[in-house]
Every structure is written in structure tokens, then in C-alpha cells.
């Protein structure tokens, strides 16, 4: 069964919690759909971003039993707005999940 958007949001938020354990207090990502993911101001640096994406992939597998791959650069959608904010990322994952 396809995970609900709420379930996907849970996975992303719990990944943000784990990511924040590695980030300095002024680098932490706020757990909000409006949080900016990349670039200034308040976005993650490249290492933080990669860590978050991998954490989401792992947690998604743990929770739902199948893998999503967000890190394939061949996916043209990733060049767009998908990684601009946490909310956009949740939508992107939702749209990528098989029904």
C-alpha cells in the first residue's frame, strides 16, 4: 500500500531529527514543511543535504519495506524545485512512490 503523505512527512521529520544530531546549533534544520533545504539563508550545506537525503532513503526502507532513491542525478525532476523546501521534498517523494 502506498504510504500516505502524512507517513512520508513523519519519515522526513525523523530524518531531520537525526541529521540535527550532527549539525552545529546554528546549522540545524527546522522541522517544518516551509524550511528551506538548500542554499542561503538557513539552508543546508552540501554535506548536510547529502546526509539528509541518505537518512530519508534509509528510514523510508525501514518503515515501508521498499527503497526509494533520491540521489540518482539522472532524474531531471531533481534539478527543479523538489529540493527547495522540506514541503517540496515530501511532495516529490509522494509523487515518486509506486501506488
Amino acid at each position: 500500500m502506498k504510504p500516505s503523505r502524512e507517513n512520508i512527512t513523519d519519515v522526513v521529520f525523523s530524518s531531520i531529527d537525526e541529521l540535527n544530531e550532527m549539525l552545529g546549533s546554528n546549522q540545524r534544520l527546522e522541522k517544518s514543511l516551509h524550511s528551506r533545504l538548500l542554499g542561503q539563508p538557513n539552508g543546508l550545506d552540501s554535506l548536510g543535504f547529502i546526509n539528509l537525503v541518505i537518512l530519508i532513503e534509509e528510514k523510508y526502507f525501514e518503515r515501508f519495506g521498499y527503497r526509494i532513491v533520491l540521489t540518482q542525478t539522472s532524474d531531471k525532476r531533481l534539478e527543479g524545485a523538489a529540493f527547495e523546501s522540506v514541503g517540496n521534498l515530501v511532495k516529490f517523494i509522494d509523487s515518486s512512490c509506486p501506488s
Binding site: 550532527m22 549539525l23 552545529g24 554535506l47 546526509n51 537518512l55
Partner: protein, 591 residues
């Protein structure tokens, strides 16, 4: 007293940013700030101390590399060729030499062992073959690394395989590797960070020293007061009984490493001891416990009493109880005590004990091995106090003997441990590594002695340190350290006697001491205030060395040299010997 954050330098051929993050954010002590060395430049970073990452010099260094990145022989084997073990040895030697060179300037170095990703385990029977086996090659490299670094001071090889095994199948992450040059999953770095922090606490003398145990359903199954010792669950052909035996064995092994065991249990004392005495599968016996309170009183009060009896701070104590209400009560009443959650399944007790990362030690001395016995002697000693009419009479009956010798290679590890662990009778509370202490002691004008205390009940071992900085007509006592095990037996006065005698023989006019306050060393101030030294201003004490400071009559003072009086180490010539040690002829014979 809050200590400033430790600065760590992380050198690697891969991205250690995640370890840096975990180390810096972990809320446990010590607080850490990390600096990453130049990415991928391991040899350059180790050998070039002019690089910005070395300024200021870090408190500790972590050198964590992939074997295939720093050993061309391993790369060769991974590519399907063979490599002679002699070549691997030579490459590891060079790597170790670069690390050893850093040990000249940095206080503590951690070197995790090498591992290769599990994707390389596809060699089957060849994996452990001579010449071509990848795993064999890495095993050989790790063994050589251990041999090389065994003798490098303040350098500790850490078992990275443990972190990888803890995480399991996903420990190596190809995705993190290809995207960010991070070979391991987050959980590996998290485990590594926790281990490194625990190691730093151990090195700083902040390890827990006492485990206080409940009895029923902790050391054995069942309520001994209700079912009798014959029916408690311990050993036998029973999975739970075997688990209790293994748990007792694990506790006994902790005791062998110098961690004290004590009992706080709501029971009838005679019934509990009968079980220890008579049950054939009991591993722990009365002599294994340094103290106990087996009664019906409040456990928090009992534990506080035990800590006071053993002269330990509450922050040195771990309390293990199967009863959640008792655990919560102790947590609430004595928050400094570590009270771990304890599993309902008795078969998980050993795992829970070993998962506590609070007993780390940098090294193990004879004193550690004998500590539990020493506390047993102390109990006999205190019992004898009841039969004496005065302190002096009691001290006379003890037949106290204090042996003094200069700080040297043979006593440096224990002296450093004592310096870093002692809180109460400690004038300046300096915390130094072996290397720093040794270096300070061999500077011109610096003189350091250690003191061994024994009496008719037993040997307390190396329990005192005196260090002096001589400057013209003044001898300043820098370290005045005495283990709490021997406080109050006139050993304090004996150490002062030695300081003054040394000054007199060196024609120095005055001995001064400056007390440096910490939250724990009030007993030291109290001693100096009643020591007879003149109080010049607040916490500044002085003695005119034209006058002798009397050796307590109950003390026999000797030197460590057979037959020689203790004064042999106080003669000016001995001062020269201590100083010449800097050149390799004196107490420090390996410099």
C-alpha cells in the same frame, strides 16, 4: 568546576565531518570542539605541524583511515595481486612512525583499526590466503599497527570493528561513499563518537569507580528471605540461573580491573550472607565487596553512606537494581549517581553491564588490580580504631610505614593516575598526561617524589605525590596529593616533613604552598590550615625552613633503596640525579 572544551583534530583520507558533528553535539562530558584536517592529505597533515589545523595544538588527535588509501600493499591485494607480509609491515611501520611523531606534541591520540567494506569479502577461500587474501592482509596490518603503537605514549588504538559490528549489515554505505566520500553509515560514527568520549573521560580520570548492587533478582533469581538460599535461581540447568552466574562473573571481572563492588539491599543481612557463603554456584563472595548496607533503610541513604565510607564522590557510583521504584528514588535523591535502566529479561544483564561506557581506563596498574583487597584491609583497619583510646594510640598500633622515592619511569603511570583521580587532598588539582607530567618533572628546578603507605593490615600502594618548584630561596609546593584511602593517618604531615627536609638540605629558606580551590578539595585547605604552616594571606601557606617540620612519631619513613634512609632522596646530590634523569641517567631511564 566547569572545564573548557577539548579541541580535537581529525585526520583522515575520507570525510570525517559526521564524526566531528557527533563528537561536538554529544551532550555528555567532556565538551568537544573539532577541527578537520586537510581532506585526504593524511601524511602531510601528520608530518607538517605548520599547517593551520595544528594551531593551536589540539588536546587530542584522531587518525582514522581506510587501509587501501594509506597502504599500497592493501590496494594491490584488492586489485587482485599479491603482497608480501614484509611489505605490509614496512608500510605500517612508516604510518606508525608518522603518528608517533605527533605524540611529541599532542596529549592524546586515537587510531581506529582498519576495516574493509564487506563488498570485498567475495574472495571465498582466498580471503584468508597468504599473499592474496584481503582480510588476511588487513588483519596483518592491524596487528602490526598494534605492535608499533604499543610503545608510543598516550596513543590508543580503538577497535573500529566493534562499531561496525554494532551497526550490522548497513555499516558500510556505498551511497554515502560515492556521494560524499563517507565510507560508513551514520550509526558507525555515532558509536565511534560515544566510544571516543568515554575514552576521553577515562583518560581524564572521570570513570565510575563503584558499582552498588541490589541482591534479589539482580545477583540471583528470587527473594532469598522468602525462599531460602537453597531455592534461589543461580546456575544449574536453567537458562536464567546460568545468566545470573554469567552476570556475577562479569561483575567479578570488573572488580579485577579495579572497579569496586558494594551491596545496597533490603534484606536480613545474616540471610543474605548465608546465601553468599553456602550456595555452591555463587561466584561473588563476601571478600569481593568493598562495602555493604543490607538492611531495611532507604536505599538512597544507604548508597550515600557507602560512597562516604569508601571516600568516593557520588559521581563515581553506578547503582544497579531491578526495581524501577528504587531506581527512580535514587535518581531523584542522588542525581550524580548513574542509574541505568535495567532489563526485565535476566539474560540481558551481562549485555546491559557491558554497554555502560563509564568504566574506561587508559591503563591498569597494580593498584587497580589490588584495590578491592585494599578496601577490605581498610575495613579491618577501621574496626581496629574502635579499640584504641586516642588517634595517636591507634596510629601507633598500625605500624605505619611510608616509603619515598623520586618520580621515575617505573612509578610514572600510577603517579599520573593518582594525580588525575585525586580530588580531595589535592593542593593544585593539576590534570596532566604521563608525557606532560614527565616533561614537567624533568625541567630544571622541578623535583617530584612519590609516597607508598603500608601498615600491619596491608599495603595501600603508591598513594601520595609531592612536587616542588625551587626558585632561589623559595621552594614552592606545586603538587600535594594524597589518596583518600590514607587521609587522616599523619601521612599528610609526613609529606610536609619531607618537603621541609629537602628544602633545608638544599639550603632553601622557605617552603610555600598556594591552595587552589575546587568544588572537591576543601579537605586539603582544612589540612593546611591546621598544619602549623603560617597563613600569609588567604590560602597562602609558608614554613621557615630554618626550622625542621617534625616527622609524626607513629610513622617510619624509609627510602625505596634497600637499607638506605629516606634522606638519600633529599640530599642535593639526589636533586642532581633527578635532573640528570633528563639526560638518561636518573630515575627516568628511557629519555
Amino acid at each position: 568546576m566547569k572545564r573548557s572544551a577539548l579541541r580535537g583534530l581529525l585526520i583522515s583520507d575520507f570525510n570525517l565531518g559526521n564524526l566531528s558533528g557527533y563528537l561536538s553535539n554529544d551532550p555528555s562530558q567532556p565538551e568537544i570542539q573539532c577541527e578537520l584536517g586537510p581532506y585526504g592529505l593524511v601524511a602531510e597533515a601528520l608530518l607538517d605541524s605548520d599547517l593551520p589545523c595544528w594551531k593551536p595544538v589540539p588536546d587530542f588527535l584522531i587518525v582514522w583511515t581506510r587501509p587501501e588509501a594509506v597502504l599500497s600493499s592493501v590496494r594491490h591485494v584488492l586489485d587482485g595481486f599479491t603482497a608480501k607480509e614484509g611489505l605490509i609491515t614496512q608500510e605500517v611501520n612508516r604510518y606508525s612512525e608518522a603518528i608517533a611523531a605527533c605524540s611529541q606534541s599532542v596529549k592524546t591520540i586515537f587510531v581506529p583499526t582498519w576495516n574493509i567494506p564487506t563488498i570485498h569479502f567475495g574472495q571465498g577461500l582466498l580471503d584468508l590466503a597468504q599473499g592474496a587474501g584481503v582480510s588476511r592482509c588487513v588483519m596483518h596490518a592491524n596487528m602490526q599497527l598494534l605492535r608499533d603503537l604499543d610503545t608510543v605514549p598516550n596513543t590508543f588504538v580503538l577497535n573500529a570493528s566493534k562499531w561496525i559490528e554494532l551497526v550490522g549489515e548497513g555499516a558500510f554505505s556505498e551511497r554515502l561513499w560515492y556521494l560524499a566520500k563517507i565510507p560508513f553509515a551514520h550509526a558507525v560514527f555515532k558509536a565511534a563518537g560515544q566510544d571516543i568520549k568515554a575514552a576521553l573521560r577515562g583518560i581524564r580520570g572521570e570513570a565510575r569507580k563503584l558499582v552498588v548492587l541490589d541482591l534479589d533478582d539482580v545477583l540471583w533469581g528470587g527473594i532469598v528471605g522468602e525462599i531460602g538460599w537453597q531455592n534461589i535461581i543461580l546456575g544449574g540447568h536453567d537458562s536464567i540461573g546460568e545468566a545470573f552466574v554469567d552476570f556475577q562473573r562479569a561483575l567479578k571481572s570488573l572488580r579485577q580491573r579495579g572497579v569496586l563492588l558494594a551491596i545496597a539491599s533490603k534484606n536480613e543481612e545474616a540471610v543474605a550472607w548465608e546465601a553468599f557463603k553456602k550456595h555452591p554456584e555463587m561466584i561473588l563472595r563476601e571478600g569481593d565487596f568493598a562495602a555493604w548496607r543490607i538492611n531495611w533503610k532507604d536505599k538512597a541513604q544507604n548508597i550515600a553512606d557507602i560512597a562516604a565510607e569508601l571516600s568516593l564522590g557520588l559521581d563515581a557510583v553506578v547503582f544497579i537494581d531491578d526495581n524501577q521504584i528504587e531506581r527512580d528514588r535514587v535518581r531523584q535523591a542522588l542525581p550524580e549517581i548513574l542509574v541505568p535502566d535495567w532489563p526485565l529479561d535476566r539474560r540481558l544483564y551481562v549485555r546491559s553491564l557491558y554497554s555502560l561506557d563509564c568504566f574506561q581506563q587508559a591503563f591498569m596498574t597494580d593498584e587497580d588490580r589490588l584495590r578491592a583487597e585494599m578496601y577490605s584491609h581498610e575495613r579491618a583497619r577501621k574496626n581496629s580504631r574502635a579499640y584504641a583510646s586516642s588517634l595517636d594510640e591507634w596510629l601507633q598500633t598500625l605500624q605505619l610505614r611510608v616509603k619515598v622515592e623520586p618520580l621515575g619511569d617505573s612509578n610514572l603511570p600510577r603517579a599520573t593516575q593518582l594525580l588525575n583521580k585525586t580530588n580531595q587532598m589535592n593542593l593544585s588539582t593539576r590534570r596532566l598526561t604521563e608525557k606532560e607530567f614527565r616533561s614537567w618533572a624533568t625541567e630544571a628546578g622541578h623535583h617530584t617524589w612519590v609516597f607508598y603507605v603500608s601498615d600491619r593490615f596491608g599495603d595501600s600502594g603508591l598513594t601520595g605525590i609531592l612536587s616542588i618548584e625551587a626558585d632561589g630561596n623559595r621552594a614552592r609546593i606545586v603538587d600535594f596529593v594524597l589518596s583518600c584511602r590514607v587521609i587522616g593517618r599523619k601521612v599528610e604531615e609526613t609529606i610536609l616533613h619531607c618537603a621541609v627536609e629537602w628544602a633545608r638540605r638544599s639550603r632553601i629558606r622557605s617552603v610555600v604552598a598556594s591552595y587552589s580551590e575546587t568544588p572537591r578539595n576543601a579537605p586539603c585547605r582544612a589540612f593546611f590550615q591546621k598544619s602549623g604552616l603560617i597563613t600569609r594571606k588567604k590560602d597562602q601557606f609558608a614554613w621557615d625552613a630554618d626550622h625542621a617540620y617534625q616527622l609524626p612519631s607513629a610513622i617510619t619513613l624509609v627510602s625505596s633503596m634497600d637499607g638506605a634512609p629516606f634522606e638519600v632522596f633529599l640530599e642535593p646530590r639526589a636533586v642532581e640525579v633527578t635532573r640528570i634523569g633528563h639526560e638518561g641517567l636518573g630515575p627516568f631511564d628511557s629519555n
